[in-house]
C-alpha cells in the first residue's frame, strides 16, 4: 500500500451541478450578451472548466501539494538556484492590502507608500552591489539579462559605435547566450582554463573593437571567484567594451565585495535567489538591473525618483530603451525583497553570505571523501562534483533519483556543461549543520548502494509518488492537454 493518495485530473473529477463560488446577486439590470455582442458572443460554455464544490477543489490541490518537495521539509541543494528558507513575514507584508490591491495606474498621489518602497529598494540594491542606478522592472533574471544587454547596445549606439559580438564563458547559464541573442548580438563562447576560471589569453586574443561586451557570472557556476576580475574589466574597457555581471550568485558576496567596485558596468540581481522571495515552483521572481551612471539614461522607463514633496514615476527619459514590463515590475516580489533586506540589514546580509560559503565548504569537505570536485580551485557558495568516481554503470542521474528515496531533493545535475556528469550542490546559509550531516550520510549511503546493489540505485526512485518518468515518449508524442476517453 502506497502512502500516496492517487489524485485524478480536475476534468475527471467534474461533477455537473456543483459550485465552488457563490456570486453576489446582481444589483443592476441583466444585460443580454447575445444582443450586445452579436456574432462575437460565446455560445458554448468553456467545457473543460469543471464543476466542483470548494471542498473538492481544496482537497484536490492539497493532495497535489503532497506530491511536491519544499524548503520547509529540508535541504533543497539545487546548485545555482539558491534555495534558501523563505521567511514567513515576507508573505505577510506582500499580502497587506495597501500593497496587494493597488492598481498599477492609479494616481501617484494615492500610491506614495508603494513608490517609497520602490525607491528604497532601488537604493538598497545599488548600495549592496555598488552601482549608481537601478530599474526594478525586469520580471526575472533572464529579463534582467536582456535589459542589461539592451542598455549596453543603446550605450554603444548613442556613441555611434555599432558592435556585433558578446563574449560568454562556456560555464555560463543558458539564459546568458539566449538573452544576448535576443538583444541582437552574435554570441561567442570563451573557454574556461583548467581551474574553471576565464582563460585570460583567450579573452585578450578575442577582445577587439567589434565586441560590445562580456557576460560573466561571478562567482561562476562552479562557485569559483574570478580573482582577476578587475583586470578583466580593464581589458574589456580598453577596447571600448562593457562588462555585464550575472548576479545569480550574489549570495556569496554580500558585504564582502561589490561588483560595481570591480569596474563592472551593469548587472542583474535575482531577488528570488539572494533575497529569498520564494521560487513558487517556477516563479514569479524579479530580476532588477543595476548600472553605473553612464548607462542610467537608457534604463527602462519609468524610474522612481524623489521629489520635494514625495516620490514619482519619471517617464521623461528620452534615451530609455523603453518598457520591458507592462507596469511596475513584479511589485509584490519587490515587497518581499525589501522585507528580507531590512530584516537582515547591514550586519545580517554579510553574515548570510559568510554562512552560505561556510556551509558549502563544509559540504565540499565532507563529500570530497566520496566524490571528486570538478575543478581544483577554492569555491564559495556552491561546489560541483564530477561523475568520475562513480561506480561503473552508475550515472549522476541514478544518484540524484536515489536521493529522492532518502527524502532529499537532488542537487542540480549535468550543469555546468564543462564538468562531466556534474553534481552541483548549493546548501545556502539557512541549513543547520545537522541537516548537512544528514545529507552527507544520505549521499554516502547511496554511493555504498551503488557499489553493493546497483540495480536498486539505477531503478530509483522507489519511494516517490511516481517512479522514473518516460521523458522520451513525452517529447516524441506530445500530450499537452487532457482529452476525454
Amino acid at each position: 500500500m502506497s502512502r500516496w493518495t492517487e489524485e485524478k485530473l480536475l476534468f475527471e473529477l467534474d461533477h455537473p451541478g456543483r459550485r465552488g463560488v457563490t456570486l453576489p446577486a446582481a444589483d443592476v439590470p441583466e444585460a443580454d450578451p447575445r444582443e450586445l455582442l452579436g456574432a462575437m458572443h460565446r455560445e458554448a460554455e468553456p467545457a473543460r472548466l469543471p464543476e466542483l464544490s470548494e471542498v473538492d477543489v481544496v482537497r484536490h490541490f492539497t493532495r497535489l501539494s503532497t506530491f511536491n518537495y519544499a524548503i520547509d521539509f529540508g535541504l533543497y541543494p539545487l546548485g545555482s538556484c539558491t534555495m534558501k528558507y523563505n521567511p514567513k513575514i515576507n508573505e505577510q507584508t506582500a499580502r497587506m492590502e495597501g500593497f496587494s490591491r493597488l492598481h498599477p495606474l492609479q494616481p501617484q498621489s494615492m500610491s506614495q507608500g508603494a513608490l517609497e518602497l520602490l525607491y528604497e529598494l532601488q537604493n538598497r540594491l545599488c548600495a549592496i552591489a555598488g552601482f549608481d542606478a537601478c530599474s526594478l522592472q525586469p520580471a526575472a533574471g533572464a529579463q534582467g539579462e536582456f535589459t542589461g544587454m539592451q542598455l549596453i547596445r543603446a550605450y554603444h549606439e548613442s556613441r555611434n559605435d555599432l558592435r556585433k559580438v558578446v563574449l560568454i564563458p562556456d560555464s555560463a547559464h543558458g539564459t546568458n547566450p539566449a538573452s544576448a541573442h535576443f538583444a541582437g548580438y552574435d554570441v561567442e563562447e570563451v573557454r574556461s582554463s583548467d581551474d574553471g576560471r576565464m582563460d585570460m589569453d583567450a579573452l585578450k586574443q578575442r577582445m577587439e573593437t567589434d565586441v560590445a561586451g562580456i557576460m560573466l557570472t561571478v562567482p561562476n557556476t562552479l562557485g569559483i571567484f574570478q580573482e582577476n576580475i578587475r583586470e578583466i574589466c580593464d581589458i574589456v574597457h580598453a577596447k571600448g567594451g562593457q562588462v555585464y555581471i550575472d548576479g545569480a550568485n550574489l549570495n556569496a558576496l554580500m558585504g564582502m565585495t561589490r561588483p560595481g567596485d570591480w569596474g563592472a558596468d551593469v548587472m542583474h540581481i535575482n531577488l528570488h535567489k539572494t533575497f529569498s522571495t520564494p521560487h513558487g515552483g517556477g516563479g514569479p521572481g524579479a530580476g532588477p538591473v543595476v548600472c553605473r551612471k553612464h548607462l542610467e539614461p537608457f534604463l527602462p522607463r519609468p524610474v522612481v525618483v524623489k521629489t520635494g514633496s514625495g516620490f514619482k514615476l519619471d517617464h521623461d527619459r528620452p534615451q530609455s530603451i523603453g518598457k520591458v514590463h507592462a507596469f511596475n515590475g513584479n511589485f509584490l516580489v519587490l515587497v518581499r525583497a525589501l522585507t528580507y533586506i531590512d530584516t537582515l540589514g547591514r550586519e545580517g546580509l554579510p553574515e548570510a553570505s559568510r554562512l552560505a560559503v561556510l556551509n558549502a565548504n563544509y559540504l565540499r569537505a565532507r563529500l570530497s571523501e566520496e566524490l571528486e570536485p570538478g575543478f581544483k580551485g577554492n569555491t564559495l557558495h556552491e561546489v560541483v562534483f564530477s561523475d568520475r568516481t562513480l561506480p561503473e554503470g552508475i550515472t549522476t542521474m541514478d544518484i540524484a533519483k536515489r536521493l529522492i528515496d532518502y527524502g532529499f531533493h537532488p542537487p542540480t545535475v549535468y550543469f555546468p556543461l564543462i564538468v562531466h556528469g556534474a553534481i552541483m550542490v548549493e546548501p545556502t546559509e539557512t541549513e543547520p549543520r545537522e541537516e548537512l550531516d544528514r545529507f552527507v550520510a544520505a549521499v554516502k549511503a547511496v554511493l555504498e548502494e551503488a557499489r553493493t546493489d546497483p540495480e536498486k540505485v539505477k531503478s530509483a526512485p522507489h519511494d516517490a509518488y511516481r517512479r522514473r518518468l518516460d521523458e522520451v515518449t513525452a517529447a516524441r508524442i506530445p500530450r499537452l492537454t487532457w482529452e476525454p476517453g
Partner: protein, 450 residues
C-alpha cells in the same frame, strides 16, 4: 539573524572539518583591493515586530481599490478572489518549491500545469498552451517573435488599439532585431480599420497583432479580420492579445474566430492587482506551431509502472538546452500565479465563470447608461465587454482623477497621453467589484466636470 542557524560551536566544528581557522579564510580568492572594507551602506536589521509596523505604515500611505471603488482597468482589472485561492497558494509545497526539473518529486506542480494548459487551450480555442510568461506585454512580444520564426517575414502589423504599454514592450523586444512593425489604425467604431489593414498587407508581413477586446474595450470582429488575412498569399498569422482574460468566458474563443496564436495576461483569474505584478502572461497556439512556443510546457507520460505522470517536455526549444538558438530566453516564469489561476478556474467552473462575465457586462452597461444620463457618451459605437471609452467635455479628462479621488473613487484612464487624437477620451471599467450606487456617484462626479 533568526534565519541563520549556525552557532559559534557549529562554525568551529565546520571550520575544523574544512581545515580553516576562520570563515574569512574561505574568501581568500577575493583580492584585498576589492574587499568591501566599510561594510554595507544600508540600515541595520529590524526585529519582525518593528519591520511589520514599518511596512504597514508604508502600505497605509496608499489608497487601494476596496478602500475606494475602482473604475480603472486599462490592462489591470479589479476582480474578487475567493479565499481558497490564496489559502492554497500559501502552502509551502507550492510557493517554496523550485521549477519541476525532478518530476518524481514535483508531480503536484506538474499536474497543475497540465490542468492550466488544458483550461487555457479550451478558453482560447487553441490546441496547446505554455505554462506562463511574465505578463501580457512580454507575452505579446514573444507571440510576435514566434510568428516571425514560423512565417519568416520581416514585418509585423500591430493594431494601434493594442494596449500602449504592450506596444511599448513589443518595441523594446524588437528594437535590436531585424524586424519592423507597422500600425494599423482603428475606425470610428473603435474596431480595426479593415480597409487600412488590406492595404497594409504585403508578402513580407508575417503576422497581425490585434487585441480582443482592444485597449478601448471594443470587441473586434475577428472573423472579418481573419478573412482579410486569408485574402493574401502566404497568409500572415493572426495573433490575438487578451489583457482581460475574463472576456474569454463571454466572447467567441479567438481560436474559433481564425486566430493562430493567442497571447495575453490571465491575472484576472484570481490574482491580486499588486501594483502591476506579478501577473500571468500566457501563449496558446494551434498544434502546428507547438515547437515554436516560448517557455515551459508540461506533457503527459507514464512512469516505469505504467502510471500516468507529467514532465516538462519539448525542452529542446529552451535556453538551457538550445542556448542562443532557443525560442526564448525565459527561465523563471510566473509558476505560482499560474497555479493561482488554475485554482480560481476550478472554483469558478464553466458556469460560474460565464455568470461572472455576464455580471461584468451588466455592470458595465449600467455604467454606460448612468454616464449617458449625465451627457457622457461612448467614444466608439463598437460592442464592449466590461470597459469602454467615453468622450468628456474638453479639458475635463485631466481633472477627472483629482475630482474622483476627492470623492473617494479611483477614476478611469485618460487616453490623450497615448493617443494625441483622443484628447478628451477617457477609458472606464466596471467589474463585479463596483456597486450600482458607486456607478451612480461616479457618473455624478464625472458629469459635473466642466
Amino acid at each position: 539573524m533568526h534565519y541563520l542557524p549556525a552557532s559559534e560551536d557549529d562554525k568551529r566544528a565546520m571550520l575544523s572539518a574544512i581545515g580553516a581557522a576562520r570563515v574569512d579564510e574561505l574568501f581568500k580568492d577575493i583580492p584585498p583591493e576589492i574587499r568591501c572594507e566599510k561594510g554595507l551602506d544600508i540600515p541595520a536589521g529590524l526585529s519582525e515586530q518593528e519591520l511589520k509596523t514599518r511596512m504597514a505604515a508604508m502600505a497605509a500611505r496608499n489608497t487601494a481599490p476596496g478602500g475606494a471603488p475602482c473604475f480603472l482597468g486599462a490592462g489591470a482589472y479589479d476582480h474578487f478572489s475567493p479565499a481558497a485561492v490564496d489559502h492554497l497558494l500559501s502552502r509551502t509545497e507550492f510557493y517554496s518549491s523550485y521549477t519541476p526539473y525532478q518530476p518524481e518529486m514535483s508531480q503536484g506542480t506538474l499536474q497543475s500545469i497540465f490542468e492550466f494548459q488544458t483550461m487555457m487551450a479550451d478558453l482560447t480555442g487553441m490546441d496547446v498552451s505554455n505554462a506562463s510568461l511574465y505578463d501580457g506585454a512580454s507575452a505579446t512580444a514573444e507571440a510576435a517573435l514566434m510568428a516571425s520564426r514560423i512565417r519568416r517575414g520581416k514585418k509585423i502589423l500591430v493594431a494601434r488599439s493594442i494596449h500602449p504599454a504592450y506596444r511599448e514592450v513589443l518595441g523594446t523586444y524588437l528594437r535590436c532585431l531585424d524586424l519592423d512593425t507597422e500600425e494599423v489604425p482603428f475606425g470610428r467604431d473603435g474596431r480595426m480599420d479593415l480597409e487600412a489593414l488590406s492595404s497594409a498587407l504585403c508578402p513580407d508581413v508575417c503576422a497581425l497583432l490585434v487585441g480582443q477586446p482592444n485597449f478601448f474595450g471594443v470587441v473586434e470582429d475577428l472573423p472579418s479580420i481573419a478573412r482579410s488575412l486569408e485574402a493574401v498569399d502566404k497568409k500572415p498569422l493572426l495573433a490575438v492579445t487578451v489583457s482581460e482574460a475574463l472576456s474569454l468566458a463571454i466572447l467567441n474563443a479567438p481560436g474559433s474566430s481564425g486566430a493562430d496564436i493567442v497571447a495575453g495576461d490571465a491575472r484576472s483569474f484570481g490574482l491580486p492587482l499588486g501594483y502591476g505584478g506579478p501577473y500571468l502572461g500566457f501563449v496558446t497556439a494551434k498544434k502546428a506551431h507547438i515547437r515554436q512556443i516560448p517557455g515551459r510546457i508540461c506533457g503527459q507520460t507514464t512512469d516505469e509502472e505504467g502510471r500516468r505522470g507529467f514532465v516538462l517536455t519539448l525542452t529542446t526549444r529552451e535556453q538551457h538546452i538550445r542556448r542562443e538558438r532557443a525560442t526564448s530566453n525565459i527561465c523563471t516564469n510566473e509558476g505560482l500565479c499560474m497555479l493561482g489561476a488554475t485554482i480560481y478556474l476550478a472554483l469558478m467552473g464553466r458556469r460560474g465563470l460565464t455568470e461572472l462575465a455576464r455580471l461584468n457586462l451588466s455592470k458595465s452597461e449600467y455604467l454606460k447608461e448612468a454616464l449617458a444620463k449625465r451627457g457622457i457618451t461612448p467614444l466608439f459605437d463598437g460592442p464592449t465587454f466590461n470597459e469602454f471609452a467615453v468622450k468628456l467635455p474638453a479639458g475635463a479628462a485631466s481633472k477627472a482623477a483629482e475630482a474622483l479621488a476627492g470623492a473617494g473613487m479611483i477614476g478611469g484612464y485618460p487616453l490623450g497621453g497615448d493617443y494625441a487624437d483622443l484628447q478628451d477620451g477617457y477609458l472606464v471599467c466596471a467589474t463585479e467589484q463596483v456597486r450600482r450606487e458607486d456607478c451612480d456617484r461616479f457618473a455624478e462626479v464625472l458629469g459635473g466636470l466642466k
